[in-house]
């Protein structure tokens, strides 16, 4: 199906590029999620307004168009030329960070108000309360929705192939153009995305278990082989029954 030359020069490097774009975008998205999500709980309306505006803008625009904008509009508007991968990472990280901020904001809002009061009674500053009490307690609640978002992001990295970043989807497109026979390569790509998503989910499950342990909760018992794919509903089921089964 593919020549050895194609495999070593395009396909393997493409997989590596996909991994890199995923990691960089996820790191950026995570930072943006916490920053914007925390700002959106600020008592100052102007801060809430500014961060809320960020959220609305990035939620309401297409990640693909944002990527074109970063790659082709920014150079003419601002005179800055990103390397293609940077443009892709920026568009993905800022967009998925906006979605992530909603997760952080929601999880912070779900921390019991009594925890804030206990923090005040011990005379912590606002920043200390956020860092030592509210964010650590909100964190385990964030992991399952972050997992969903991370999988979305992984699949979204295929968009970078449209701005000439040679990821694995880009390599697949090359092969189709060269050989015309597209079924095997695209099937293979689907499988690789699936395997990556599966691995990421397993990793997030480990993180979730560790986070729950840090809250003194006994980790949910190990379930079946494919349980990782339903991470959110699986956790709900386990915690929801309160160990009744």
């Amino acid at each position: 199906m593919m020549s050895e030359k194609f495999f070593t020069e395009w396909f393997l490097p493409g997989i590596w590029i996909t991994v890199q774009v995923t990691v960089y975008s996820a790191a950026l998205a995570l930072a943006v999620s916490f920053l914007i999500g925390t700002l959106r709980t600020s008592p100052l309306w102007i801060v809430r307004f500014a961060s809320g505006t960020y959220f609305e803008i990035f939620r309401g625009t297409s990640a693909l168009v944002m990527m074109f904008w970063m790659a082709y509009a920014v150079p003419s508007l601002l005179g800055i030329q990103f390397v293609p991968m940077a443009a892709g990472v920026l568009a993905l990280g800022l967009t998925y960070g906006a979605y992530g901020s909603e997760i952080v904001r929601g999880a912070l809002a779900a921390v019991a108000p009594a925890q804030r009061e206990a923090g005040i009674a011990l005379n912590f500053t606002k920043a200390q309360r956020l860092r030592k009490i509210e964010l650590p307690q909100a964190w385990p609640e964030m992991i399952p929705p972050f997992n969903n978002l991370l999988i979305e992001l992984l699949k979204g990295t295929a968009l970078v192939s449209t701005i000439a970043v040679a990821d694995m989807t880009f390599a697949g497109n090359l092969l189709r153009l060269a050989k015309g026979d597209s079924a095997p390569i695209y099937t293979l790509l689907l499988v690789i995305y699936f395997v990556f998503a599966f691995l990421l989910t397993r990793g997030m499950r480990l993180l979730e278990r560790q986070a729950n342990r840090r809250m003194g909760k006994t980790p949910p018992e190990k379930t079946g082989f494919l349980s990782g794919l339903r991470s959110k509903s699986a956790t709900d089921a386990v915690t929801g029954t309160g160990g009744a089964k």
Binding site: A114, E117, A121, L122, Q128, I133, Q137
Partner: protein, 271 residues
């Protein structure tokens, strides 16, 4: 027995007793149109153990929450150790206090909550050490040593590494008491701290509080339905109704010969 004991203790601590520590001046607290406290005046002297009693909704919790700065009064002023709590003086005028001023006055006040409110993301030990380390700047090992002493004192010396979810309600509440004491407050606010506990766990928590009342100089402001406990520790009992103090006196007087009709009614209902 209790009244005598308190009397002797008062005389043995002339240095801490007698000075006014808390003062409410014409404090008004409203929730919407519901006036909960109406120009309330009252004061508590340093080292005293004062119990607030009164029917549900009379404003007892509101008073403690105002002191803890979890609520702000609409009118009037509160002073702790002579300093305004939610106001500060600037150019001779009384203005709303900034966060820095509030924290400075608030460091003298500790609170134990009905629902314990331990931090679930920290072990028992860290629940106690976190504030002394990050708020008071105590070295970590010093804070831990003191936390262990406090845990011993509340009978939980073997639970340093347990998380709140692994402790019973009574144990959680005792950790919460240790946590409040670790900040060395001058005033300890206790709002129905045994109400959320199973009956068999109440005594253990009350014993710890009795111990604190009898062996330390901490001023205690306490809301409780445990009248036996109130009798044991109180120097003074304040009867509230509709946000006013309608009667006050020593525990002995209040429980044995209350003057006010409402006090008599209330006590006969709860005793």
């Amino acid at each position: 027995m209790s009244a005598d004991q308190n009397l002797t203790k008062d005389q043995s601590n002339p240095a801490v007793d007698g000075k006014e520590l808390i003062r409410f001046d014409k404090v008004t607290k409203r929730f919407g149109s519901n006036v909960v406290l109406d120009e309330l005046d009252f004061s508590v002297n340093s080292g005293k153990h004062v119990t607030l009693i009164g029917p549900s909704g009379s404003g007892k919790t509101t008073i403690l929450r105002l002191l803890m700065t979890l609520l702000k009064p609409e009118e009037g002023t509160i002073r702790v150790g002579g300093k305004y709590l939610t106001h500060e003086e600037r150019n001779g005028k009384l203005v709303k206090a900034g966060e820095k001023h509030i924290r400075e006055v608030r460091k003298n006040i500790g609170m134990v909550f009905q629902q314990f409110n331990l931090f679930p993301n920290m072990s028992a030990l860290r629940n106690i050490t976190e504030a002394p380390v990050s708020v008071l700047g105590l070295p970590k090992d010093e804070a831990e040593e003191r936390a262990r002493e406090l845990l011993d004192m509340v009978g939980l010396g073997d639970k340093t590494d347990a998380y709140p979810t692994q402790l019973s309600g009574g144990q959680q509440q005792r950790v919460a008491i240790a946590r409040a004491l670790a900040m060395r407050p001058q005033v300890l606010l206790l709002d129905e701290v045994t109400s959320a506990l199973d009956p068999e766990l109440v005594a253990g928590v009350l014993d710890v509080l009795r111990d604190i009342a009898h062996t330390t100089d901490i001023t205690m402001l306490c809301v409780t339905h445990e009248m036996g406990f109130a009798r044991d520790i109180s120097d003074q009992v304040l009867m509230f109704d509709s946000g006013r103090v309608i009667e006050s006196g020593t525990a002995e007087k209040m429980f044995n010969e209350p003057e006010h009709e409402r006090t008599r009614e209330f006590l006969s209902a709860v005793l």
